[in-house]
Structure formats: C-alpha cells, structure tokens
C-alpha cells in the first residue's frame, strides 16, 4: 500500500487507465500536466483553499451525533458536507476543476448531470469564475428534475436534454464526451465523479480529499485517536474516495463503501456495481460495471439519483480487490428508514445518497459494537429529495406512516 497510485498511465492495479478516443488522449495528457503543475503551485493551491474556505464554507463540521449514536449502539461522527455551499461535497470538485479550467486558459465548461446536483454545482462554479457552462442531462431526468434545470438556467448555464440511449446519466456522459471531442481546444469537461479516463479519478479525488483530511484532523482533536471505521456512500464514488484518501494508510481504520441496493441486488434492480457487477470498461476506465453477457451496459436502479449509475470509480475497484475497503449494498427501503431516522434523531434531513451511508452505518455499528467510533460522510443535504421522500412516506397527500 506504499506505492503512489495511480501509475503514470492512471492505473490502480488492473483498474483505471484510459479507454478513450485517440482524439482525447493528447488533451488528457495536457490536462494531467496542467493539474500536476497546478497542485505544485502554491498560488493555485492557495486560491483553491481560499475559495473553499471563503466561498464553500469548509472545513465542514465534524458533528458528534449523540442521539443517532444511542439508536445505532456505537458512537457516530458525521462529517457535515451537507453544510457546504450548494449543499454537498461536490462543490470541492467543481471549484478545483473550474479554477484549473481558468488556469489552462479555457473559457467553456461542459458537464453531465443525473438529477442535476453536479450540474447545479458546476453552473455555480462557472458563475463564480465567469466561465461559459453547458450541462448535458438525460431528457428523462430534465423532466423528473425540473427545479434543478431552473436552478442551472438561473445560474447562467445552458441545459441540453439528451435524447439518446436510456436518456439518463450515462447517456449524458456519452453526449458530453461527444461534445468534448469536438470542442477540446477551448473546453474543459468537468466530470462530476472520481471515474473516467486518467487523470479524472485521481484529480477528482485530490480535489475532494479535503473531506477526509479535515475529518482525520478533527477526529484526532475530538477523540485523541482515529475512528475505528469510515463510511461513505458510493455511486461513482467521489465523496467516498474523498473521505477514504486520508485514511488509506491508516490500516487500523476500516473503510466501508455503501452501494445503492435498489430493490435488493438479487432482484437485478440496483446500482450495486462492486457488489454485483463485473470487471469491464465504461466511460474511459476499467472498473466494475453493470453489464450483460455481451458487455452492453445495463441500466441501474436506485431511489437515489446520485447513486444511480452503472459504473464506479476505478480506485474503489482497486480498494475492493485489495481488501483495503469493503463494499456492501443497502436497499432503497433501508436508506429511506435511515433518512427518516436521521431527521427524527438529529434534526438533519440528509440527501438520500447520504442516507445510504447512514443505513450502512447502522449495520456496521451492530457488527463493531458499542465501543466503536464510526466516522460517516454526510455528503449532502436532502432538500432536493423532498418530493421523493414525500411520496415514499406518504407525506404529500397528508397521510403519514409514522
């Protein structure tokens, strides 16, 4: 676990790499060089830190969730990424990449979005840094998430509905890649998760690794030691890799990634890529993915739009294969129970993505016992999910299950 990963070609063991059109290879090389130079330049890192502190509101709090801990039967610390500007950890990634876009002299940013969270974050960073912004969003998602489309437009972004394939997130990524092949001279593709061809998985990790770096320091301050476990939800895996990065060398800290189990991974309707997928290549990297016998991508299913993706970042595939982190699914139903539990015990409405991490934490707490301290990334807030929650719990029609 001592080698610096990824290697020069972007490999984490047998995962990662670049499975991209040749037209994008030279631009990816330029991006790699620009990113590495930027990270070694105190002016860039200083400005990134300033933006995170003054604009995004980091470091985020580490919160000792005592009432949730009582229910869980172990001490639970929440890393409050939900309190960041735009309401999730994603602001760290978009500010980093948008600042890098400026540094590269590019004027236009494209992004993909599923439910719209990454699109809104990207549009925010582009408004803040005066960059042209185009967001690709599956047509199905633009209909389901009209409010986020309005947010992006208000922030000055152009939203392009994608009408090909399954008309959801993976097709939005395809369409953004098609745009990028034709526009790479003046355009940066601001990918929203720690996936894709090299350098994206490593670059996104390094822009969001403040989650874990801060939490590690805050844990030492609060506990005088490290937590026993760190837990995060995993779709593409950016908040999880941002949390894990700081702890990977601390082998006494167990790492858990919680995947979206949908209706239960055994039903086939899920997004639990590591749990139930196979190794393959999608969107530029080798990792686990949901695919049929012929290698055609299978659509994922999750109540959480942010986890509803049939692939996963390659570093997670490597952490799983090496056993450094373990991954498990929780169902839609378990996540929604955790969603309500956190609201009722702590007065915090989490994103449904983050509720998966809470649900997984309840299981892990039972396994590790009452002496354990578990650090959980509360990656986002749940305002965006109130329609879903209202429908799930029957709150909108005035009937509640509670």
């Amino acid at each position: 676990m001592t080698a610096v990963l990824p290697d020069q070609l972007g490999h984490f063991g047998r995962f990662g790499g670049r499975f991209m059109p040749e037209a994008l290879i030279a631009p990816l090389d330029e991006l790699t060089k620009a990113w590495q130079e930027a990270m070694a330049d105190k002016e860039f890192t200083g400005e990134f830190e300033r933006m995170l502190r003054e604009y995004a509101g980091t470091p985020s709090l580490l919160y000792d969730a005592t009432r949730l801990s009582d229910v869980a039967g172990a001490r639970i610390l929440l890393k409050r990424e939900d309190l960041n500007h735009t309401g999730a950890h994603k602001v760290r990634n978009v500010l980093g990449q948008a600042l890098l876009t400026k540094r590269m002299g590019k004027t236009r940013v494209i992004a993909e979005t599923g439910a719209g969270q990454h699109g809104v974050a990207t549009a925010t960073a582009c408004a803040y840094l005066d960059l042209e912004c185009v967001v690709y969003m599956g047509e199905v998602d633009t209909e389901r998430q009209a409010l986020n489309v309005a947010r992006m437009k208000l922030l000055g972004a152009e939203v392009i509905p994608v009408k090909t394939g399954s008309r959801t997130l993976k097709d939005a990524i395809n369409e953004a890649l098609r745009d990028w092949v034709a526009s790479v001279d003046n355009t940066h593709y601001l990918l929203g998760t720690a996936a894709g061809g090299h350098p994206f998985p490593a670059m996104v990790r390094d822009f969001v690794r403040g989650i874990g770096d801060e939490a590690r320091e805050q844990s030492l301050e609060l506990l005088g030691r490290l937590p026993d476990a760190a837990v995060a939800c995993v779709g593409g895996g950016s908040n999880a890799i941002g949390l894990f990065a700081a702890f990977v060398p601390d082998t006494e800290v167990k790492l858990f990634g919680i995947e979206a189990g949908g209706d239960g991974y055994e039903t086939g309707r899920h997004a639990a890529t590591i749990t139930a997928g196979q190794v393959g290549v999608l969107h530029g990297a080798r990792s686990y993915l949901l695919q049929d016998e012929d290698g055609q991508t299978i659509e994922s299913h999750s109540i959480s739009a942010g986890l509803d993706y049939p692939g996963v970042g390659p570093e997670h595939a490597w952490l799983a294969e090496t056993g450094r982190a373990s991954y498990r699914p929780v169902t839609d139903a378990a996540a929604m129970e955790a969603f309500r539990l956190l609201a009722r015990t702590e007065g915090i409405i989490p994103a449904i993505e983050s509720a998966h991490a809470i649900a997984g934490t309840l299981e892990i707490a039972a396994e590790l016992g009452p002496e354990a301290t578990i650090l959980v990334c509360l990656s986002g807030r749940g305002d965006k999910d109130m329609d879903t929650a209202g429908e799930w719990f029957g709150l909108i029609d005035g009937e509640t299950q509670a």
């Binding site: 070609l9 790499g17 670049r18 499975f19 991209m20 059109p21 040749e22 037209a23 994008l24 290879i25 030279a26 631009p27 090909t164 394939g165 993976k170 097709d171 395809n174 890649l177 098609r178 092949v181 034709a182 790479v184 001279d185 196979q278 393959g280 290549v281 999608l282 969107h283 530029g284 993915l289 695919q291 016998e293 012929d294 290698g295 055609q296 991508t297």
Partner: protein, 269 residues
C-alpha cells in the same frame, strides 16, 4: 514486424488498389441493422458496389465516438436482439460472399466481456480480418495485440488531428493492416465541408509509417471521396451508408452509393 506482415489482410487489399493507381474504398455498416438478416444483405451490397474492404460495426450501448446516425442504428440493432455471436455470423456470411477483408469496428468492452482470446479465435475462424478499436489505445492493448498476432488478425488503431508526432509513432508501430486517421475533431457523421485537418494528419502519419493510411469521419459522396483519395490510401465511409438504410433505400441504395463512391476514389478531385 516486417512491412509485409504488418500489411496484414486489409493493408494488402488497400495496397492492391493503390497499385492500380487509386485509393481503396472502405465501407462501414453496423451488424443487425435494420435487422440481423437485413444487415447481412446490406453489408453484402457494400461489396457489390465496389468496396475493397468492409467494416462491420458491433453495436454498443454507449458509443461515445458516434454521431446520431450510427447511434440510432446501434440502438435499433440492439433492440432487435443482436448478440455478439450474430455479429460473428454476419462477418462469416459476408466474408464468404465477398472474398474481401471484413473487419469489425468495436468499442472495447464487448470484446473484453466476450473474452479477448476467445473472441480472436472465434472471429478468425469465421473469416474475420481484424478489429478497428476506437476507444482502445496501444498502451491498453497488450492482451488484444497478443491475441491478434496469434490469430493473424489486423489491429487498426486510430490517429487524430490532436495526436502528437510521438503518439502517431507509437500508434502506427502498433497497427497491422492500416492506420485509421480521423479527419475531424468530432464524432462520426456526414459533413458538408471537407476537413482541412485530414491532409496534414495523413502527411504526419505517412512520415511515421509505411502502412496505408485510411481517412474516415465525414465523407458521404463521390466528390468528397475523390478529394480525400488525392492524399489518402483509403477512403472510409460509414454514416452515409446507414442513411441509405434509414431512408428505406435498402441494399440497392447501399450498392448504388458504394458504386458512386468507388467511382469517386478512381477520379481526380
């Protein structure tokens, strides 16, 4: 690898055309479009019209290098139940019928999932000539290169206007058959204007290799084909054929367009 070995199947056919004083015509259609059997007939019509080399597309769920025309065809093929074994069967029928090299153009994941060695063996025994791999770069292709060499299959990698001379040298060294030069920075699809990026790219590529260089992306008619034939060893046409099928013109439409393009590669621009 000697030059002769590197010419492989498709390169030998392209050089035969070049020796006759013209560029070769490479025609593309996806397998399974509009149906599995209809696809076989349409692809045979490429040969009937005068294509020197055939590319059969392997429809894939996430074709990031393709424009809308080929995307739609792939969706229809997959919705029609097309499997990889049907693609191999299509190649077998077309190769037996046409007696010219039949390559498959495929994104990488279906091959990896099928099993690289197993695919190479099954494909070679069906009479397939090689693979064109738009999202596989030589740095990631060790397993494929070994399987291709073992089965004497062509390995066609792509060069792009954005490729550095170093990358062009690396890529051309890894090719067998020919080198696929993408004429534009963009996805597949017919274009009104000829690309001004293609000729310089071909020149840079030829400086690095003695392999034939084919130019694709955007060529749709005889005039454009003649223009590209002036500097390229092979002219690759895809979306324009798909459009013939999309318009309901069937194999006859494909054959007519191929014949017209075959005239194009034989005349002065």
């Amino acid at each position: 690898m000697s030059d002769l070995m590197a010419l492989g199947n498709a390169g030998t056919a392209i050089r035969r055309a070049n020796e006759a004083g013209r560029a070769a015509l490479v025609g593309y259609l996806p397998a399974g479009y509009p149906t599995i059997d209809g696809g076989v007939d349409a692809i045979k019509a490429l040969a009937d019209g005068g294509a020197d080399v055939i590319e059969v597309g392997l429809p894939y769920s996430d074709p990031v290098m393709d424009g809308v025309t080929i995307q739609r065809a792939a969706e229809i093929a997959l919705a029609g139940g097309l499997r990889i074994r049907d693609v191999i069967a299509t190649v077998e029928k077309v190769a037996a019928y046409a007696g010219i090299p039949v390559l498959v153009m495929t994104y990488w994941n279906p091959i990896e999932r099928y099993g690289v060695d197993r695919f190479a063996a099954d494909f070679a025994s069906a009479g397939g000539a090689g693979l064109i791999t738009p999202d596989l770069i030589p740095e990631e292709a060790a397993e494929w290169a070994a399987a291709a060499d073992k089965n004497e299959l062509d390995k066609v990698f792509l060069v792009s206007p954005s490729s550095t001379d170093e990358r062009i040298a690396l890529t051309t060294r890894s090719c067998r058959g020919f080198v696929y030069a993408t004429a534009v920075m963009g996805v597949t699809g017919a274009r009104e204007q000829p690309s001004d990026l293609a000729a310089p790219l071909v020149a840079r590529t030829k400086a690095a290799t003695s392999l034939p260089v084919g130019v694709g992306l955007g060529v749709s008619n005889a005039e454009q084909a003649a223009g590209v034939a002036a500097y390229a060893d092979a002219v690759i046409v895809g979306s324009a054929f798909v459009k013939q099928l999309e318009a309901g013109n069937g194999p006859a439409g494909v054959r007519e367009l191929a014949a017209s393009l075959a005239q194009g590669v034989r005349r002065e621009p």
